[in-house]
């Protein structure tokens, strides 16, 4: 494939795609809400009526608003219909037909608006949930068929890879990434450009690029959605990275719990190889790069980079101390670049639009956007992509539509390594530094909203139980410390603790934090420390209240 071929293909596909089309979300949350049946019914309804103009039906990736699925969108009008059922399909097709003929959006009679008590606006896409977003990573999500490489090409796909290979030297690519200010989206926030240049500076020889798709944080589903909805974007990002650092082999490590994402990735890899965009002599240049998939087997610790590499080598996922960092000695002892799915998904747009464009979005130290999975006791559950620096209040109250019933108490970010941010700190802009100051972390992007009924001590215990079970057992502070912390929290929840137990809890937290080997243990006490900081009265209440109710002991 050369540039001209790519552009011809893209242009032809753009023409096909611009025709009237009903796009059905067929991944993630919509899938478990019977989206495939809805799509089938729409196809049947369309094929039995000779419509003018003809309407295509396509399955696409995630449209974001998972709690209102199955979602269906009529293009080019862009009208979004939510909670479509197989029964409402005839009505929907009729509405679509009228819309196309009259160019006026046609409402569905029973289509209730998003978290609005009165049907004053039936259009979900005008809701802040959509209007406050800034899609970069998710720009194609919900618009293209993830199983069709041509649809990705029609949306400027693989242009960035071509630009990198033919118009830029590897060091120019790294410079662009450095100047863009992109930081690792897996949680740590390490500058991506710096990581790339470390690997690139290592002497030439065997190097690897790894995509960390082991999205282990409970309540986070961003990577799953990106891989399911737009897998080629990740492949393109990895190929650009491999060119920049001088690697010829890549691995995508993905959770075994995500069968659809694995399926879409396999399809994408096959198509990219067939088109000469992966494998030998990519774009007929001397650059070779192969990608293999490695499927995880359900161990949270494998999200930690050194454990992940052990797992790729076919061993137990045990972390090892750093240094040496993977950039110097990683997979099979070779220099290895390891980045998160979302980080790779940001690469192609940066190369295409330039570092300055990317650096213009976000805050001073946190550039670009971040994808969050908004879940918990909130009206609008789903995936959002917002510029860094958006406040928690905007996310929870405006985009999320507020708490289901009652009011919010806290937002949990960063999963078992993060903390709980109380409602009085909701005006904090979401960026790496601000969240760290609040004792939480950005993490991979899980955002769980908790209401007043949530018991924060119980939440801390929930996360500690998680860490206790997921500890790999290699180092003592984590293996034994998490068990002790869990016991202490259970004791508190059962109302059997005394105030001096709080002191032990605090000390033990600090000890586990300071002495554990890897990120799992180092961050395991975070949920306790942050709840202890912001919700100490809940702990104290349990001290006096000996007869704690039974639901804690389940």
């Amino acid at each position: 494939m050369d540039l001209q071929e790519l552009q011809t293909l893209a242009k032809r596909e753009q023409e096909i795609l611009s025709a009237p089309c009903i796009r059905c979300c067929t991944v993630g949350g919509c899938l478990s809400a019977n989206a495939l049946e809805v799509k089938k019914q729409i196809e049947v309804a369309i094929s039995t009526q000779a419509l003018t103009p003809p309407i295509q039906v396509r399955g696409v990736g995630c449209m974001g608003l998972c709690s209102r699925g199955p979602l269906v969108r009529l293009d080019p009008s862009g009208i979004l219909y939510d909670q479509v059922t197989a029964e409402s399909v005839p009505e929907l097709v009729h509405a679509c037909q009228e819309t196309l003929q009259s160019n006026l959006p046609k409402e569905l009679p029973n289509n209730t608006p998003l978290s609005l008590p009165q049907p004053s606006s039936y259009q979900p896409r005008h809701h802040p949930f959509f209007t406050l977003q800034h899609p970069i990573v998710l720009e194609n999500s919900g618009h293209i068929d993830p199983k069709e490489i041509k649809e990705y090409m029609a949306n400027k796909g693989y242009i960035a890879l071509y630009q990198a290979l033919y118009d830029m030297t590897p060091s120019e690519v790294i410079d662009q990434i450095t100047q863009s200010g992109l930081r690792g989206r897996g949680g740590g926030g390490y500058p991506t450009g710096l990581k790339w240049s470390t690997v690139a500076k290592m002497p030439p020889g065997q190097k690897y690029v790894i995509c960390n798709g082991d999205e282990g944080d409970p309540g986070a589903f961003m990577d799953r959605s990106v891989l399911e909805s737009d897998p080629h974007r990740v492949l393109e990002g990895m190929a650009i990275a491999a060119y920049a650092v001088g690697a010829n082999q890549g691995y995508i490590y993905i959770r075994g719990e995500y069968p659809l994402a694995i399926n879409h990735l396999e399809t994408a890899l096959r198509q990219a190889r067939k088109q000469g965009l992966l494998g030998s002599q990519i774009f007929e240049s001397p650059f070779d790069f192969r990608i293999d998939i490695r499927i995880g087997a359900g161990a949270f610790v494998c999200g930690e980079e050194t454990a992940l590499m052990a797992s790729i080598e076919g061993k137990r996922g045990l972390p090892h101390p750093r240094p040496p960092y993977p950039a110097e000695s990683g997979l099979w002892g070779c220099p290895t670049l390891i980045n998160n799915v979302e980080t790779f998904a940001n690469i192609a747009p940066i190369i295409r639009n330039g570092a300055e464009w990317f650096a213009g979005i976000g805050t001073d130290k946190s550039k670009g956007t971040k994808v969050f999975s908004l879940a918990g006791k909130i009206q609008n559950t789903g995936l959002i992509e917002v510029p860094m620096g958006t406040s928690l209040r905007q996310i929870v109250e405006q985009m999320g539509g507020g708490v289901l019933d009652g009011s919010a108490k806290a937002v949990q970010t960063g999963g078992p390594s993060g903390g709980c941010i109380p409602v009085h700190a909701f005006d904090t802009p979401v960026d790496y530094e601000s969240l760290t100051r609040l004792g939480s972390i950005m993490g991979s992007g899980g955002m769980i909203v908790m209401d007043q009924a949530t018991n924060m001590v119980d939440v801390a215990r929930f996360f500690m139980e998680f860490c206790m079970e997921e500890s790999c057992g290699k180092c003592v502070p984590c293996r034994a410390g998490t068990v002790q912390l869990h016991q202490l929290l259970t004791k508190i929840c059962e109302g059997k603790a005394r105030t001096d137990d709080l002191e032990s809890l605090n000390q033990l937290c600090e000890m586990v934090k300071d002495t554990s080997l890897c990120g799992l243990g180092k961050s395991a006490p975070n949920p306790i420390l942050s709840t202890l900081h912001f919700f100490k009265d809940e702990y104290l209440e349990l001290m006096h209240n000996k007869a704690s109710d039974d639901h804690h002991s389940s």
């Binding site: 809400a33 998972c66 409970p218 309540g219 490695r294 087997a297 949270f300 908790m450 389940s554």
Partner: protein, 169 residues
């Protein structure tokens, strides 16, 4: 996982052999091979593990170590029906713990166990990524969202009421 018994045992070993051959019997393909073996046999029997150890030239202890390290692999057969309750944070906040205790009560088993008649296996998942429809449960491989204790209780009772599954309680 798919726990269906297969009538022809040799066939499954042949497929496993082909998988190992495709990986050129590389020791680092152990996890991929175990995935395939579990897919074929439903669980990892001891003789299967030994066979894999010999084929990949790995000490049996290492194969056993890897098979027991990862939650995905099971060394015991699972029941005819499976119920996996998601314990992700979003599901937890929406009451997954009470769903779990409902199933435990109905089936009279603890999490991670199979009923004595081999009818139902109950386990938990870290997070299914189906947080949009929390709390979510996987029943026989199908993700079902927006569960309540009543709904789930009914479905589990129905599964266990299947003619082949008479619970000995």
């Amino acid at each position: 996982m798919d726990g269906k018994p297969h009538p022809n045992k040799d066939h499954r070993f042949r497929v496993l052999e082909a998988t190992m051959k495709r990986h050129q019997y590389q020791p680092n393909s152990l996890i991929e091979v175990l995935h395939k073996a579990q897919e074929l046999f439903g669980y990892l029997e001891q003789d299967v593990l030994l066979h894999i150890a010999h084929s990949l030239k790995l000490p049996p202890s290492q194969v056993y170590g890897v098979a027991t390290f990862y939650h995905f692999f099971s060394l015991t057969p699972s029941g005819r029906h499976t119920c996996v309750v998601c314990m992700g944070t979003a599901c937890f906040v929406k009451g997954a713990a009470s769903l779990l205790s409902t199933v435990e009560q109905i089936a009279q088993i603890q999490t991670g166990e199979t009923t004595r008649d081999g009818c139902l296996s109950l386990s938990t998942a870290r997070c299914l990524g189906a947080c949009g429809s929390a709390p979510a449960v996987v029943l026989d491989g199908q993700v079902v969202g927006y569960q309540t204790s009543e709904k789930l209780g009914q479905q589990v009772t129905q599964m266990m009421g299947h003619p082949q599954c008479k619970v000995a309680t």
